[in-house]
Amino acid sequence: MKKNWPLWEVFVRSKNGLEHRHFGSLHAVDAEMALENARDVYTRRNEGVSIWVVESKHITASNPEHNGELFEPAQDKVYRHPTFYNLPDEIKHM
């Protein structure tokens, strides 16, 4: 019976000190092959020092249709930003 190779998401740390970033995806039969393929597909020019792979089906993504209730509540909370507070100009280092 024919089974398709599962899809994996690839995250690469381009150098130490930076976070892993999503680079793309690929098909592989298991994690080991996904890592090897990720190396060949996404780091042919020294783009990375570390790779994470995770099977795409394990990622839970928010639904853009719910962006309103998820993200809009943050918009009117200006008091979470330093510029909300009025201080005299003479104040330094704050």
Binding site: N4, W5, G24, H27, V29, D30, M33, R44, R45, A61
Partner: protein, 318 residues
């Protein structure tokens, strides 16, 4: 969803594109946008993969180790570019297998340029210089396209492709500095690849059915004719510099438009090749279908092995 609601969503969608918002995979999009993108991105991916064939054919016959490693790396890049693009198309809900099926059945097209044969080593030069040169012009224009995964793939591809064109031009440069036979070989390659390269930009604007919609969705940022003109204007001086002659008796600098005028393109040839009657259409398709069919047992075996390993691990954990 009611018609009213869909119309509303479509209006919001068009507004997002106008203000240069990127569209991401899970966002709502009109069905036509999805289908157009699946078609263009998958055909772009197929072009990369089929494009490996004419050059792969010359790897074992590269004239030096320097040329061989460069050509190998270029062909490997093309495989990688195909994979970036297939992944981008998959985010729109089509599977990798469906795309291969469309390629193998002839339903999906790929760039016609790869239906021309690579007869001599100089063709490796002409392909890198002209074909990749034309591809870069098309692709740079696509880096700002509205569909996020496609735009990101394009940025990565453009970064990697500039070496492709340079290695091609270097091959032509060396040949043009060589013996008369080498110069003739370079000129012959230019003669054969010049017109098909111009055709890579697609039909003239007034005969291109998708241009208007594609411009609106920023799937195209410049028209076919504009890109073709840009290619000609940048390539003619490069040919002159290495003493090669563009095979177009009507080619002439036009001071008024600050660009070259050029002779008529043989669109009958273009449509013949698109319809499957080019010199290598059958050969290319046969190579792809064979690779897919003869690889079936490998893909199946790898999958079975992975499943067996997984089961063994689960057993040990108990």
């Amino acid at each position: 969803m009611s018609e009213e609601q869909i119309k509303n969503l479509e209006e919001q969608f068009e507004a997002r594109i106008v203000r240069d918002d990127k569209i991401e995979p899970k966002d709502w999009m009109p069905e036509k946008y999805r289908q157009t993108h699946i078609r263009q991105i998958s055909q772009h991916a197929h072009s990369e993969i089929v494009g490996m064939l004419p050059e792969g054919n010359w790897i074992t016959r590269a004239p030096s180790l320097r040329r061989k490693v460069a050509l190998l790396a270029k062909v490997q890049d093309e495989g990688g570019h195909g994979l970036y693009l297939y992944s981008a198309a998959e985010t729109l809900g089509i599977s990798r297998d469906e795309m291969f099926e469309q390629l193998h059945s002839g339903k999906a097209k790929y760039s016609s340029i790869f239906n021309y044969p690579a007869l001599t080593w100089a063709d490796m030069g002409a392909i890198g210089w002209l074909v990749d040169g034309a591809a870069i012009i098309n692709q740079v224009a696509l880096c700002g396209t509205s569909y996020g995964p496609y735009a990101r793939a394009m940025v990565r591809i453009c970064k990697e492709e500039s070496f492709h064109q340079r290695q091609g031009y270097e091959i032509m440069l060396k040949l043009s500095e060589g013996a008369q036979e080498q110069k003739d070989m370079a000129q012959d390659a230019l003669n054969r690849f010049w017109w098909p390269s111009l055709m890579m930009f697609g039909p003239k604007d007034d005969e291109s059915p998708h241009t208007a919609q594609s411009m609106k969705w920023k799937l195209k940022r410049k028209t076919n004719d504009d890109l073709r003109q840009q290619f000609i204007d940048q390539t003619v001086p490069q040919a002159e510099l290495i003493g090669l002659t563009i095979p177009d008796p009507d080619l002439k600098w036009n001071e008024e438009k600050k660009g070259y005028d050029f002779g008529p393109i043989d669109w009958d040839e273009f449509w013949q090749v698109v319809k499957g009657h080019g010199p290598c259409n059958k050969e290319r398709m046969k190579a792809r279908v064979n690779a897919w069919e003869e690889g079936t047992w490998v893909r199946d075996a790898a999958m079975s092995y992975a499943e067996k390993q997984q089961k063994r691990k689960e057993k040990q954990a108990v």
